[in-house]
C-alpha cells in the first residue's frame, strides 16, 4: 500500500490552523495534515528543501492556501505551483477571509481549483473545512503522482 498522501495547510494564523485541525479531527484526517506557517515554507515543502529536505517524496493530495501570509503570499505560491509542470496537477483550494472580487478573480486567473471564504461562525467553518477535507482528501481522485510513479 502506498503511503498516505498528506493534506498541506498553509495558514499563518496558529488559531485558524488549530480550528481547522479540530475540524479535521472528526474525520481522523488531522494526522494527515502538514501545517505551513508562511508561503516560503509551503514552497520549501513542495520542493523538498530546507526543513523538508528529508521528507518523503510526493505531492500533497490538496493544498489549502491562505491568501495573506508573511514572506511569500498565497497568490505567489499559487503562481509558482501552477507554473511548475510537476506541481501543476495538485489541487489548490484558496481558504481565506477575503471576499474581495479582485482576489477571487486573480486566484481563478492563476488556476486555483476552488475558492472558499472562511465563515465567521465556528460551526459553518468546521463544516466547510470538513467537507473540503473529505472531498479533496477522500472523495476526489488525485492526479497520478509523476515523482512517485518514476520511483
Amino acid at each position: 500500500m502506498t503511503t498516505v498522501k498528506p493534506i498541506l495547510l498553509a495558514e499563518d494564523n496558529p488559531r485558524d490552523a488549530e480550528l481547522a485541525l479540530a475540524a479535521m479531527e472528526e474525520h481522523h484526517l488531522a494526522d494527515k495534515v502538514v501545517v505551513c506557517h508562511d508561503g516560503a515554507e509551503v514552497l520549501d515543502y513542495l520542493y523538498c528543501r530546507g526543513a523538508f529536505a528529508s521528507r518523503q517524496q510526493g505531492n500533497p493530495v490538496v493544498v489549502f492556501l491562505d491568501l495573506k501570509m508573511p514572506k511569500v503570499d498565497g497568490l505567489e505560491v499559487l503562481r509558482t505551483i501552477k507554473n511548475d509542470v510537476n506541481l501543476k496537477p495538485i489541487p489548490v483550494v484558496m481558504l481565506t477571509s477575503s471576499r474581495e472580487e479582485c482576489d477571487l478573480a486573480q486566484s481563478y486567473a492563476l488556476g486555483a481549483n476552488a475558492y472558499v471564504v472562511k465563515p465567521v461562525e465556528f460551526h459553518q467553518f468546521i463544516t466547510a473545512v470538513k467537507e473540503l477535507s473529505v472531498f479533496w482528501g477522500i472523495i476526489n481522485e488525485p492526479p497520478p503522482d509523476s515523482s512517485e510513479s518514476t520511483n
Partner: protein
C-alpha cells in the same frame, strides 16, 4: 470613520460671495456690480455687445444726418454761386443794352442795337434760370419778380425810345439819349440785384457756419463714439476675463479635490480590504474557541456558564454580520455600475420568488401595480427590492393580515417614483432622517432583527443611479418607502 452615506454634497464652492453693500464706499456701484455678477456670462456679453451696437447705431444716425446737411449745403452753395454769377451777367447785359441804346439814340447807328436785341432775345431765358435758382427762397423770389418787372419796364422804355428815334429823329429823344430811357428802372434794378446778391452772400455765410459746426460736431461725435465703444469693449473683456478666471480657479480647485477624493477612495479600499480579512479572523477565533470550550468542558459546565458561552459566540456572530454588511455597503459605493434597461416587473417577480420561504405561514395581501422599465444596474436594483420587500415583510410580522403595495408614480417624463407601502409597525416621522443612515435602527433588536444597513444600501444604490429616496409613515400605521429612478432613455 469613512462609512458615511454621501448625503451632504461638497461645499458650494461655485457660488460667488455676495459683495457687502454696507461696507462698499459707493453703494450704488456696489449694487450695480452685484446685479451684474448675478447675470450669467452670456447675458453680460449680450448686454455689452447690445450697448456697443446701440452706440454705433446712434452715432451712425447722427453722422448720417450731419453728412446730409453738408451735402444739402453744398448743393445750395453751388446754386448760390450760380445765382451770383447769373446776376453779374444779367447786370452786365442790362448795362450794355442801356449803353447800346443810348449810343443808337445819339448816332442812329443800327449796329449799336445789337446788344439790345440779343438782351431782349436772351432775357426770358435768363429770367427763367433766375426763377429756378431762387425757387427755394420766397424772399429772393419776390425780389426776382420785382426784378423781372423792372427789366420789362426798362426794355419797354428803351424800345419806345428806339421807336421814337426811328420816327422823329434825334431831337425827339435827346434828353433820353443823355440820361437813358430807363434810368430809374436801371438804378432800381441794380439796387434789387445788390439786395439779391447780399441776401445770397448772407445765406452762404450762414451755411458755411452751419457746415463747419456740423463737421466739428461729427468729428467730436465719432471720437466720443470710438471712446465709448472702447470702454464698452474693455468692460465686456473685463467681465469675460473675470468669469474665465473664476471658472479656471474653480476648475483647479475641483481637480485638486478630485485628487484628494481619489486618494481617500484608495485608502478606503485598503481599509475595507483589511476589515474584510483581518477583522473577521479574531471573530472566527472567539466563536471557534467558545465552541471548542463548550465541547471540551461538556458536562462540567452549569447552565449559567453555558449561557455565557452562548452569548460570547452570539456576539461574535453578530459582529461578523455587521462587518459583512459594512463590506456590502462599501462595495455598493465602489463597485462598477452597469447601465441597462431593467424590467422592474420581472425583477419584483424574481425577488418575491426568492423570498417565498419568508412568506410561509403568513397571510399577505399583495397589491403590485405594473412598473415601468428603468435604466440601471439589475443586480443593484434587485438588492433595493430585496431590502425593501424584506423590510415590509419584517415589520408586518405582527399583523394578522399584512398588506404590501408596490407601485409607481410618474410626475415627469424623465423620472419615475416607485414606492413600497406596508401596514406594519411604521415609524415616527420625527426620526425620518435617521431611517436611511448606516446602522440606524428605529426598533429594538429584540423586536425586529437586522443590523440597520438595509435602507442605507437602498439609498446608496439609488443615489448612484441619480435618484432620491424618502419615506412617509406613522407609528403603528405602516410605512411607505419611496425612491426615484431615471426612466430608460429609449422608453421615454
Amino acid at each position: 470613520m469613512a462609512f458615511v452615506a454621501q448625503e451632504h454634497p461638497v461645499a458650494p464652492i461655485l457660488s460667488e460671495p455676495a459683495p457687502d453693500g454696507s461696507r462698499s464706499p459707493t453703494p450704488k456701484i456696489g449694487k450695480l456690480m452685484e446685479w451684474l455678477t448675478h447675470w450669467s456670462i452670456e447675458r453680460r456679453v449680450l448686454a455689452g455687445f447690445g450697448l456697443v451696437f446701440a452706440g454705433i447705431v446712434v452715432i451712425s444716425a447722427i453722422s448720417y444726418r450731419n453728412t446730409s446737411v453738408l451735402i444739402e449745403n453744398s448743393r445750395l452753395d453751388s446754386k448760390s454761386h450760380e445765382l451770383v454769377q447769373l446776376l453779374d451777367s444779367v447786370g452786365e447785359a442790362l448795362d450794355a443794352t442801356e449803353r447800346g441804346h443810348r449810343r443808337y439814340l445819339v448816332t442812329g447807328e443800327e449796329s449799336y442795337l445789337k446788344f439790345y436785341q440779343s438782351t431782349v432775345e436772351q432775357m426770358p431765358e435768363y429770367l427763367q434760370y433766375l426763377r429756378g435758382l431762387t425757387n427755394e427762397w420766397p424772399e429772393q423770389q419776390s425780389r426776382v419778380a420785382t426784378l423781372e418787372e423792372l427789366i420789362a419796364r426798362q426794355l419797354d422804355a428803351e424800345a419806345r425810345a428806339i421807336t421814337r428815334r426811328e420816327k422823329d429823329g434825334y431831337e425827339a429823344v435827346r434828353h433820353l439819349a443823355l440820361s437813358g430811357a430807363a434810368k430809374n428802372e436801371l438804378e432800381r434794378i441794380h439796387f434789387i440785384m445788390t439786395e439779391l446778391d447780399a441776401a445770397e452772400q448772407r445765406a452762404l455765410q450762414a451755411r458755411v457756419g452751419q457746415s463747419t459746426g456740423s463737421t466739428r460736431n461729427t468729428i467730436a461725435l465719432l471720437g466720443l463714439g470710438a471712446l465709448l465703444q472702447l470702454v464698452l469693449l474693455a468692460s465686456v473683456y473685463f467681465l469675460i476675463h473675470h468669469d474665465v478666471t473664476e471658472r479656471r480657479r474653480v476648475a483647479t480647485e475641483l481637480e485638486s479635490r478630485g485628487e484628494l477624493l481619489q486618494a481617500a477612495n484608495k485608502e478606503l479600499e485598503a481599509f475595507s480590504y483589511s476589515v474584510s480579512h483581518d477583522l473577521r479572523a479574531p471573530l472566527r477565533h472567539i466563536d471557534g474557541y467558545a465552541a471548542l470550550l463548550s465541547k471540551a468542558a461538556g458536562e462540567a459546565l452549569n447552565d449559567k456558564a453555558r449561557r455565557y458561552l452562548q452569548t460570547i459566540s452570539d456576539s461574535a456572530k453578530q459582529m461578523g454580520q455587521l462587518i459583512d454588511d459594512l463590506l456590502v455597503f462599501s462595495r455598493m459605493g465602489r463597485q462598477d455600475m452597469l447601465r441597462t434597461t431593467v424590467n422592474l416587473d420581472q425583477l419584483v417577480k424574481t425577488v418575491l420568488h426568492d423570498l417565498h420561504l419568508d412568506l410561509q405561514g403568513r397571510t399577505i395581501s399583495w397589491t403590485i401595480s405594473p412598473l415601468p422599465p428603468v435604466s440601471g444596474d439589475p443586480a443593484m436594483l434587485r438588492q433595493v427590492f430585496v431590502n425593501l420587500i424584506s423590510n415590509a415583510l419584517k415589520f408586518t410580522a405582527t399583523r394578522p393580515e399584512a398588506k404590501i403595495e408596490i407601485g409607481a408614480i410618474r410626475r415627469n417624463p424623465n423620472e419615475v417614483e416607485i414606492f413600497v407601502r406596508d401596514n406594519g409597525v411604521g415609524f415616527d416621522m420625527q426620526y425620518v432622517n435617521k431611517l436611511f443612515g448606516v446602522f440606524q435602527r428605529l426598533h429594538r433588536s429584540e423586536e425586529f432583527e437586522g443590523t440597520g444597513i438595509g435602507l442605507a444600501n437602498v439609498r446608496r444604490i439609488i443615489h448612484r443611479h441619480g435618484g432620491r429616496t424618502w419615506a412617509e409613515g406613522a407609528l403603528d400605521q405602516g410605512a411607505t418607502i419611496y425612491f426615484s429612478l431615471p426612466v430608460a432613455r429609449s422608453l421615454k
